[in-house]
């Protein structure tokens, strides 16, 4: 039948463009996402390395590249305030929307999830291709704002109104966001249909690997939380382009001049709509990494995960609860304190399932025969570091302590412990873990260990001082911290953070080298290098077009390790039990 041939074009010879550029194969698209999002992470990180110079040595010319920057951004190599703000806004935007989400969902989800459920591809392969081809132009559009008159957005990644409506550069940010959001929406629909409809026979929901559960919950969040931001972005775009006043209050005076606008809008409305997306977004950043870590811990400890049902239940309740905690970002925004109480309570409640998941992971280690492979080391590092990130969030969720800590470096420390030492560490773990699946070769262990120790130590070196600075009362977002007298005592900590940030970059070089060298020259990996039980290891590495020669049949849950009486200490999901 014709329909099947157009979906499974492997029967005829594919051209280079069909195979590597406009591919409909989830594996190629997954790797496209992987490489692209790693590049965006590196770009976002580079912006931050520039900002770290300004924070450590405010007013000093940037060494090496300072002279290359245009004189409007950095006269004589000294960064201007506008340039600092642009870097800050773009760092946040790139890292969150173009780096971590596409890496965690677009790359890992795309490549691994269909394999783990025994599917030949995603439910809608062409839609999948379209997601990528919206994401990349959206990302390039975002970057292109650097060379446009007025420069890129400079109102923070949160784009608070009315500042964002007045500041230059915001229009391109909004247009790019609409494109990126559309890409995510298409992806979310595709993931949900695939996960619900394309499971191999016998793979009931209670046998799904945790990673698949994480992707499904994440997709629901993307599906339902992104449209409000899309609407909010359209309204902000209307404010900028059509002269409406959705977020502009009456009687706004800017630089002594009354603003020419009808007024009647509400600046707080933007914050509500933005955080209605952006809080679920935090769980989008965190759930897939949790899934990755769970997979690695199960195979790295050689025992079943502790509390599979608890973990699944916790993930689902995290997903639901994440929609009703958003205003804990806004305790000091001027919204009603009564509302603050409500969000305080929901925030305390949502910490329960997070702690439950982490506890299950830690309990899974008990009595295991742990294999200290590189992915397992990253997964183990995730546990305490993500724990620090989570626990430091509690004082921010309590209104009384938040009054003091709000908008200080403490917040930056907390958030980055969650998404850098949490998510990014887990994404590195996943990269080392599934690399043999992608390329049929292993990554180098020694280089991996150098990367691991360097990365973990540097990340802590960057973010831990921020807790101290925050508790000493240092405000975030300031272009020149030394301008305020009370920041002088903690200024040396900025130098510590900055030096570790630059060192962190150096420690990524062995990773980049390792990645590309192993791609072509790495040690050939056996079919199931980690001796894992889930379905992605039941097909060749890399899997051929269509993945499985024969649709696998699933007989048991995902983590049957060290089953007494079985010949090996792993019992794959698709292996029939001998009577």
């Amino acid at each position: 039948m014709n329909t099947h041939d157009e979906h499974h074009g492997g029967h005829h010879e594919l051209t280079f463009w069909e195979k590597y550029v406009f591919s409909v194969d989830h594996k190629v698209i997954g790797l496209q996402y992987l490489i692209t999002s790693f590049i965006f992470l590196l770009i976002g990180f580079s912006l931050m390395m520039l900002m770290r110079w300004q924070l450590a040595f405010p007013g000093h010319p940037i060494p090496l590249i300072g002279g290359l920057l245009s004189s409007s951004l950095a006269p004589n190599g000294v960064m201007t305030g506008e340039f600092y703000n642009q870097l800050g806004a773009m760092h946040g935007t790139i890292m969150v929307f173009l780096g971590i989400v596409p890496l965690a969902v677009g790359a890992f989800g795309n490549y691994i999830m269909p394999l783990q459920i025994g599917a030949p591809d995603m439910a809608f392969p062409r839609l999948n291709m379209m997601s990528y081809w919206l994401y990349l132009p959206g990302g390039l559009m975002m970057l292109s704002s650097f060379i446009m008159p007025g420069g890129p957005a400079q109102s923070g990644w949160t784009s608070y109104a009315p500042l964002a409506i007045i500041n230059p550069g915001q229009t391109v940010w909004l247009l790019s966001m609409v494109v990126i959001i559309t890409s995510s929406l298409l992806g979310a629909i595709n993931f949900l249909v695939t996960g619900l409809n394309m499971r191999a026979p016998g793979l009931s929901l209670d046998r799904l690997p945790i990673f698949v559960w994480a992707q499904l919950v994440t997709s629901v969040l993307l599906l339902l939380a992104f449209p409000p931001l899309e609407a909010a972005a359209v309204l902000q775009l209307a404010d900028r382009v059509m002269g409406t006043s959705f977020y502009l209050p009456s009687g706004l005076i800017i630089l002594g001049q009354p603003l020419k606008a009808s007024g009647g809008g509400q600046p707080l409305l933007w914050q509500h709509l933005f955080w209605f997306l952006a809080h679920p977004e935090v769980y989008v950043l965190v759930l897939p990494p949790m899934g990755i870590v769970s997979e690695i811990i199960a195979s790295g400890t050689r025992k079943p995960l502790h509390g599979y049902k608890t973990m699944v239940g916790s993930m689902i309740s995290l997903g639901i609860m994440s929609f009703i905690v958003w205003a804990h970002h806004m305790f000091l925004s001027g919204m009603s304190p009564m509302l603050g109480n409500f969000f305080l309570v929901t925030t305390m409640i949502i910490s329960v399932p997070s702690v439950a998941i982490l506890t299950c992971m830690i309990f899974s280690l008990k009595g295991g025969s742990i294999r200290f492979t590189v992915p397992m080391m990253f997964a183990l590092a995730f546990l305490p570091l993500f724990g620090i990130g989570g626990l430091t969030g509690l004082p921010l969720g309590l209104t009384t302590t938040d009054i003091y800590l709000h908008d200080t470096y403490y917040v930056i420390g907390h958030f980055h412990y969650v998404v850098v030492t949490g998510s990014i560490i887990a994404l590195f773990a996943g990269t080392y873990y599934w690399f043999p699946k992608w390329y049929g070769r292993k990554m180098d262990e020694t280089l991996g260990k150098i990367h691991f120790w360097g990365t973990v130590i540097c990340m802590n070196g960057i973010f831990f001082p921020m807790f101290i600075q925050g508790m000493a009362g240092q405000n975030r977002r300031y272009f020149d911290p030394t301008a305020a007298h009370h920041n002088i005592p903690t200024q040396p900590l900025h130098i510590v953070s900055s030096v570790f940030a630059w060192l962190l970059f150096l420690f990524q070089l062995p990773f980049i080298y390792n990645f590309f060298k192993s791609m072509w020259h790495g040690e050939i990996s056996e079919e199931n290098p980690w001796q894992a039980t889930t379905l992605e290891w039941a097909c060749p590495s890399p899997p051929p077009h269509g993945n499985f020669a024969k649709t696998p049949r699933v007989y048991r849950g995902p983590y049957e390790y060290s089953l007494p009486g079985h010949k090996t200490d792993w019992f794959p999901q698709n292996e029939e039990a001998k009577a």
Binding site: H8, I189, L196, N197, M198, A232, S245, G264, T551
Partner: protein
């Protein structure tokens, strides 16, 4: 020729076809999109010192006619689906053609309304009410245009693809979307014109 690879997607685990599940999920996200706009409207209106009565500033009869136009188009697209499932090609083409005509009628009437507003110097920037009115109806109009594109595409494809086993399913998907566009208007009309 049914290989193992090809057979798999035809047997969805959930019992609902991929396309139908996909459309429903897409509509869920659309509900969130328009839900946000309605919430925005509510918040802005409750916070405003004064808010015009819809019937004082908008043309209620025209809005009313448009409501009936859209409701009728929902009926015709349903009939188009029925004809498609019955493999009645000319019946399908008649009702799908009617649906598209009615959609254009909606846009033309809406265009007259917009034109009258512009002629009176009422633009989105004039007042917060206008901002809400033009943005919400504009986004709805954009959805109508998307619907026209999808429905015209199906009408065009029916020339060759009508016997395709998935064709009726595609019409059903387009129909679900079209009903959604219709329902949004059924909420928009009273919210903007009658409150």
């Amino acid at each position: 020729m049914s290989t193992a690879v090809a057979a798999h997607p035809d047997a969805p685990t959930s019992g609902v076809t991929n396309a139908k599940l996909g459309i429903w999920l897409f509509l869920a996200s659309e509900v969130m999109l328009f839900g946000t706009l309605f919430t925005t409207y509510l918040v802005l209106r409750m916070g405003a010192a004064s808010w015009p009565r819809g019937w004082d500033v908008l043309n209620v009869p025209m809005g009313m006619v448009n409501t009936f136009v859209l409701i009728t188009s929902s009926v015709t697209i349903l009939l188009a689906y029925v004809k498609a499932s019955e493999k009645n090609k000319s019946g399908f083409q008649l009702y799908m053609g009617l649906t598209i005509l009615l959609s254009f009628a909606f846009l033309v009437i809406k265009g007259f309304e917009y034109g009258a507003h512009f002629a009176h110097g009422e633009f989105p920037s004039t007042s917060i009410f206008n901002a809400v009115y033009f943005t919400m109806t504009g986004l709805h109009g954009f959805h109508v245009i998307c619907g026209i594109i999808v429905n015209s595409g199906l009408l065009y494809l029916s020339g060759e693809d009508f016997e395709h086993p998935l064709f009726a399913g595609r019409v059903e998907g387009a129909g679900l979307y079209w009903h959604f566009v219709d329902i949004v208007w059924i909420f928009l009309f009273p919210a903007l014109y009658l409150l």
